[in-house]
Symmetry: C2
Subunit: 66 residues, 2 copies
């Protein structure tokens, strides 16, 4: 899986730390980090949560070509 740079950017736009975003969506900091690193695939429910907090769409943050 590819690193998720879109989340990192959206997080920067909101001036949020990984920890802050993790807390806002109710997951651990390590999981948030792993998602950005592209180490495993979150559930759609979690993806929606992240989108809502960051004000982005699923396609913005989680689409991948191929």
């Amino acid at each position: 899986m590819a690193r998720n740079i879109a989340i990192k950017v959206a997080r920067a736009e909101k001036d949020m730390t990984q920890k802050a975003l993790a807390e806002a969506v109710g997951i651990s900091r390590q999981t948030m980090n792993a998602i950005e690193q592209g180490e495993y695939n979150p559930t759609i429910k979690l993806c929606r949560s992240i989108c809502r907090v960051l004000g982005k769409s699923l396609d913005d943050l989680f689409w991948e070509e191929d």
Copy 2:
């Protein structure tokens, strides 16, 4: 979770059965059915797979308000 009517419609547009869609994305028929019934949340990877087969976006098939 709400029933996913969008998948059902997109599937109808492609004239695909739950079984056919399940096979196309490499999951069991029961899992596909459960996803449409909204019984649990698939992983984003699986969502992307379903989107590709049905020619729809993540926002088309998996976004939910609130």
